[in-house]
Symmetry: C2
Subunit: 202 residues, 2 copies
Amino acid sequence: MPVLPEPIHNLIHAFERLPGIGPKTASRLTFYLLRTQDDIGEELAEALVALKSATSLCQVCFNITLAGQEVCEICADARRDDSSICVVEEPLDVLVLEQTGGFQGKYHVLHGVLSPIDGIGPESLKIRPLVERVKNGVIREIILATNPSMEGDATALYLRQQLLPYGIRITRLARGLPVGGDLEYADQNTLLRALAGRQEMS
Amino acid sequence: MPVLPEPIHNLIHAFERLPGIGPKTASRLTFYLLRTQDDIGEELAEALVALKSATSLCQVCFNITLAGQEVCEICADARRDDSSICVVEEPLDVLVLEQTGGFQGKYHVLHGVLSPIDGIGPESLKIRPLVERVKNGVIREIILATNPSMEGDATALYLRQQLLPYGIRITRLARGLPVGGDLEYADQNTLLRALAGRQEMS
């Protein structure tokens, strides 16, 4: 390894710790920041410092919100449907669903999925507060929007068992071929689910 | 666009300003940093702040060096060959060449290439100091290692003209097929250069 000044080495190393950023990209970003006249590096540093100090979790749905706000903007929005709750794994999932504009209800963020191998049981997730919301609230439908993965499915199954006693509608996002996809490139499982879930044309 | 707390929006925006990082990756990195228990964000912020304040340019070769150091580690290294200088566009190119371990001489970083469209003429680059080094020094060979692009070639051509009067050897990195490459996937220009530069098998 050739001699690199320490500040450069440190920044390359820091970038490398981010997911999906390898040594080449880390070097490229670092040397880009060295070269640029802009304040990109300063802006990024400030935003990083502010990230954790200026945010907290909504006390209702556990989505990210501004520090000091007890309830997030979505939970506080009276125009949104209180009776329908979409349960997701991560705050990023809320963002992705909001961008579709297809859901007018409220959310509940689990902050993970059940994964016994990693020691993540029901107590590590925001499951008890969800059950409390269902118990106390006006909720009529829970949409389980955990990822279509093994852990996501297991978590959805567990949640269904927990919520069944309350007599509400419990749904899961549809599986099938992605829009714009190609039958030829679909994996077997997706194709099986698409076949099993086939719908009448009207 | 849905409501995102401002600190999150700011960090996504700051990541997006980096080259090669789009909105999806920027969101993913931001929410990863929110979720992680590590000090990755803090480390990155510190490294970013230190980057420009703790580095400066070597007064001989214009590579990046520690602030306060007049001459970089490579230029200061007495074991390296003073008579051979490798001219590159960017500090990152020095790193890449050093990693090969195939060059024992010294470097000269131009900090860009000639690009009249962008208003970058010879005066914007570290060309005059290179000519001075050749004039005063013990240099016997200049390796022009600018990129094999149109601008890199034009810059190499210009440098050759400037350096010709000093009667030193002026070379350019070889063109041809990349090692491990496949004839089938090589572009026409590379194939033409590989043909023209064919070498006797010994």
